[in-house]
Symmetry: D2
Subunit: 348 residues, 4 copies
């Protein structure tokens, strides 16, 4: 077999194709992985839509996708850390290891980052070649369906655990797939009251299933008043901003307690966001953490253990599964926000 | 009423008496609390037994006890933060506020600490006077039976949360009442595998109920081998030492992972403990936290919220209740280790 | 003596008066302090100018000022922590001790804060009454002239030390008095390259004296290009924003390294500041600390020790001294930015 | 040239030889470095003496040494991060990158560590082959003499900066070369009072030159009484233990303040050290950090910048220089403790 099926961004415009593509070659320090299952990320939707962010980062043709579960089928001759037959997932941020960020201990914000499915061919395919350095080995008993979701869940883990949340009140703004994962992690990590906000009722219902204690639709209720009232005027100790929505951030900051903490994961449509720095950050002594990517691999350990121990159940978040050939259905559902996590399965 | 019933250490020797005692007076910044329920701490047993530690700290006569749930019945004239009728518990470390430790932000290790039931009359009585500064107000709906247990649970909270535990493997050595609380907190805060060790099978069974995932009796199994095997040679990321037992500490340190963390809460019979600093601390890059008391009141918020949210259920840990007059039964059970937490109830 | 001289905000409009005022009375837990020297803060200028921020916070008449060195001359009957003759300064944030922020360990952002010279009579006077809880005792040998400056220097200490700076590159935006103190603290705490920016050449020259290694006037040089060039494209590890100027913040964030840290102390004219959250915070994994006030008193220890040990020399920052009666001269210089720290001395 | 001169541990007994050795070969990802200067570490002395610790770790023959300054003269064909002519030093802990410690973010305590001069040939030679991953590039203007000392100074940096020290009182126990570096780093990082203890007057005098503010010989003065007296009974906020001496540790722990911090770097003759855990760690709420190796490379940035900025001057610590052929002189001085840092220079 010299070709395989893959979802390829073939043109610099909206859309993508399920088509044949040459089988990847592996370098000495790489492994060939047979893809077992994948899942769709919001950033795949951006790439599909060829928005400004994607257009400035990606050259076509490019195989899309980066959330992976697969099996190692071939090893480069220098590979020592992985074996044929290993059940693996992958870190999708391929860091250089030599830039100033990497060497300061922040590989997740490497200054020369290559991201699977963006600057390097991705996982929406039958096979993928990967450097052994980014391979994460799953225990053979690890739930097959959950393996690819460890990658986005890692973002949720770092968002939640920038500081501890045990015994604390939390607001999660945004209940898309990563917001739902964030709720699940906050719950597992001991957050007590978890307010979750979104304008999409479908997602708010999923939020309840994942562990939110109070769901709030800001189109129907005054979020600031509600939370201040529910917390006797104190507000929440922790804000986890996943929506990338300016009003969500503005409201969220207003209800962060004096001395509270904020994690920002969501990306905003227009990067320049008006923030009331005086009243909400400086005068309240608030701490903010920008979160992108995962601590490689400290975050993977936590994520993997939260799942394999059964502390977090991902079943409620997996709302749809499609053969890779029908990926357009997933893209459509993602656009409408009528889904949790969507799995794409390549032909075996 | 000018006298009340109380458990009083009347003599500088083994024992204590349930007897009458003058009703406490309150100063301008104090409140009078009618005691509703109390619970016994291991340190009460030390005082009862008049061991060297107690004898060097306490002057008789002294009303014993420090874990409290009660109702405010009278206010000093400068009291503003508490009202008659409030359902309250109390921080038992009365810090001076002016010493170097207090002013560095460590009131829990105040250099002039007065502890209820030791350097100041305690809660095993019908009434107690308390400075408003140490009063913790419980929400009226807070579970009555659990209110006094917030104090020792606060120790467990600080022991567990010296660093976060979410997604991590933990070993708790010692399953007495505080060990059990530690297990419950670790579980609620997201620890995944929780090994718990004790030589007492009764307590190990309670450990399972509180959330331990593996129980180990070091008299029956080689703890070091077992844990290294179960963790593929890595060991545990976190050791929480509650037992005050030298072999438990020694074994525990041996299985702490490279780069791991240790919290020490247990007090050792002979203070001078041999520790393999080279191999277990320095060469493994381990961090150790000595824990005593609670962060006043940051810890109380976490504790209270973990309980009121239902994240932690204390019912399994409350194994016995006695009228205060029958306190000797509790002392006896504590001595034998055949109990979880024991409640003592004063006449109402 | 039943009256004293003081600088009083007598009218709700621009200006203030040097006039007589009744001598303060002390409560049981308060002390009377004879004022020896004071210094002017930027916030005093706001109050003098009766801007919106001041008008919303202050009721006239009000004695102004909050940076103090003085001598205790009388004690309330419950005072135990201070003695007549003590050489003292004062924390100016009088926190309630009972609100949620105080009890979470954040008294510096108390939800019911009373600030000297704003919500309570201040130190621009011959005498002031102060609760013993906020008194800081200086060692008798502590440099007299520097004692009042510990208060604003405490802000600089917390701004710099939100995380450590030893061996790191730092940018300080804004070289007014607090900016200058920030530079001095960063230098003493081991920052290696310290870029300092301001549009005022007088202040930039002071910045050099206080320890800046590179001074940059953004009206004359492209700060972003300069710093990226000087750091081989990496940028600075730490941004300390003191100016409250939007372009300074924008430029500063652009040159913060991936994985870097920001402290925000400056207050912005218009609270709503446009911030490029995507590129500068989220995608770079940056941490931000809002800083206001001081950790009471952990910060005072550090501040006091940095000064008494001679690690920091405040002489270059004290550019002017006036009798209190001539306070308008100080206000004028502050408005023009042609000063470091200005001392005001009451009649003795 | 096919052979070179090197200091080789040739026999499993006391001693070493300056002799010829085949020139090292480089693998694809390695570089060949011409050694310009090296310095002797205490661990080299252990290896020379073939003590139990060394005998259990090293197989002869082995080229000794690990503190390096050199020039890259040849590149393996996959090397991209380094160029011929680069002025380099080297991290000496060659971590595997795949073990649990490495992947948790603790490569400095890698479970499969190879240390230069111990498990792999070292730098006391004319040439050495090194993986590009451990190469640290010095700026061409970096002081030549100081380059090899960055490695042990990195240990001092991590020892000091486990938590910040700015504005704090510190005790450094042990004034050998690493102790002296620790003093210099503590001083540069803003420690105010620095007590330094040793029984060797020669070293105490060096300690003063490096920045200690008080030197104490525990054979002549009661260290505990002296420090408690000098700190008004508070003790020191930070203990940095470098000596590996049990009494130094015992005394040091006694004077650590309530709520204070300890870093342990020194290795103890007999690993099992009696520690008063109850009184000195638990009841005082003390935090302890085991330190070994360096955070790779976050520590190198700090170290390099502290030196290149001139914040720390290493000249006083370099007390001797010898041609490599005369290494026995250096070994002798180290044994007697009559030296700071000793340089060994290979024939050029």
């Amino acid at each position: 077999m010299e070709t395989m099926y893959a979802i390829v961004k073939t043109q610099p415009k909206v859309g993508a194709e399920y088509t044949t593509h040459p089988l990847p070659q592996i370098a000495d320090n790489e492994v060939l992985v047979k893809v077992k299952s994948t899942s769709i990320c919001g950033s795949d939707l951006h790439l599909y839509n060829w928005d400004a962010w994607s257009a400035s980062r990606v050259q076509v043709p490019r195989i899309m996708g980066h959330e992976l579960a697969g099996e190692v089928v071939e090893l480069g001759r220098e590979v020592t850390a992985v074996a044929v037959g290993d059940f693996v997932s992958t870190e999708t941020h391929i860091h250089c290891g030599y830039c100033s960020a990497c060497r300061h201990g922040f590989p997740e914000v490497c200054m020369d980052l290559k991201i699977l499915g963006f600057q390097r061919n991705g996982v929406f395919a039958q096979y993928i070649s990967l450097p052994q350095d980014v391979i994460w080995k799953n225990h053979p008993s690890f739930p097959r369906e959950w393996a690819s979701i460890q990658e986005p869940m890692g973002n949720a883990v770092d968002t939640v655990l920038a500081e501890d949340v045990a015994g604390k009140t939390v607001l999660v703004t945004g209940c898309g797939p990563v917001g739902l994962l964030t709720i699940a992690v906050a719950r597992a990590a001991g957050a007590t009251t978890i307010f979750a906000s979104d304008v999409n009722e479908y997602r708010l219902n999923l939020a309840l299933k994942l562990g939110a204690t109070v769901i709030l639709n800001p189109e129907k209720v005054n979020l600031v008043e509600y939370i201040l009232d529910a917390t006797h005027g104190d507000g929440v100790e922790v804000l986890l901003e996943i929506s990338g929505n300016v009003s969500a951030l503005t409201d969220g900051l207003r209800v962060v307690m004096h001395g509270g903490r904020v994690s920002l994961l969501g990306l905003f449509k227009d990067g320049k966001v008006p923030v009331n720095l005086n009243d909400e950050i400086v005068m309240k002594g608030v701490r903010i953490y920008g979160v992108t990517g995962r601590k490689i691999f400290a975050t993977w350990y936590k994520t993997s253990q939260l799942l394999s121990s059964g502390r977090i159940n991902l079943d409620p978040i997996i709302t749809h599964k499609f053969p890779m050939a029908e990926f357009e259905k997933g893209i459509q559902l993602m656009s409408e926000g009528m889904c949790g996590k969507i799995m794409l399965l390549p032909p075996q």
